[in-house]
């Protein structure tokens, strides 16, 4: 139960951070991606703030043998920069640029009661399931 409570607390802080930073507003994200238009650099500052805190914390956390409540640090073992990684990231970017929503802000917007968010999240789940079927068939 401790693990679940810790995850809930982290989700709450993460969601609060998304709202404070403005990343829950798709128009702000599109304003960042629109480098040739009236540019809104806020997203770079969000990324900078998040990265500096998380990198500093990781420098300390990695000295530990194990996490506080878990058995081990579940870090990705994949190292290769391959076609699958780049194709996936490229497709994700196109969808991100179409709407201005990525997974975190899409879920953080669910309590706004806006139909577009529900549609987007439903399609995102369908896309994930589709990719799971696709990668299972091709064995990456």
């Amino acid at each position: 139960m401790t693990r679940e409570l810790a995850a809930l607390a982290c989700g709450l802080v993460f969601g609060a951070g998304l709202l404070v930073s403005g990343m829950t507003n798709p128009a702000k994200v599109l304003g960042f991606l629109d480098v040739a238009g009236t540019w809104d650099p806020t997203l770079a500052f969000v990324m900078g703030g998040a990265l500096s805190v998380n990198a500093a914390a990781w420098a300390l956390t990695r000295r530990r043998d194990r996490p506080l409540y878990g058995e081990r640090f579940a870090l990705p073992e994949e190292r290769a920069i391959d076609r699958r990684l780049l194709a996936g990231a490229a497709l994700f970017g196109i969808g991100w640029g179409l709407v201005g929503l990525c997974p975190g802000p899409a879920l953080a917007g669910l309590l706004r009661g806006k139909l577009p968010v529900y549609l987007f999240v439903a399609a995102m789940l369908a896309g994930m399931l589709g990719a799971q079927l696709y990668t299972r068939r091709t064995r990456r």
Binding site: F14, G22, L101
Partner: protein
Amino acid sequence: MISDHFAPGLGLAGGALIGLAAAGLMLADGRVAGVSGILGRSLVAERGDRGWRLAFLIGLPAGAALASALVGDLHGFEITDGTGRLVAGGLLVGFGTWLGNGCTSGHGVCGMARGSRRSLAATLAFMATGAATVFALRHLAGAS
């Protein structure tokens, strides 16, 4: 030209909260706070691996709503896309993040903080195609 909506202070403050949350999940449970991975694997997770995922995912909208109640809806919410674009965008985001093992949080905030070259490559790729898509829609096609 720089937009009137540019908010570096709130961006840094909100970003620091996101970084704190990601650091907390790693310290507490050894997990990468990548939203697409936590969500995508919650669909196929075994018992015992699902609870923490759902708890984190419930926290996202609840945390945003709580923050909005405490400090106000600081930046508003504007989305004007039609159904077709929303569905296409959602499908691409879902498919692409599963295929590429991460999104803005997993690769952008967590992977890059650990110095992962893979995450750097992914982040550069989705930033590039995201910017190219907005450029095509706003400056080539003329639509918004």
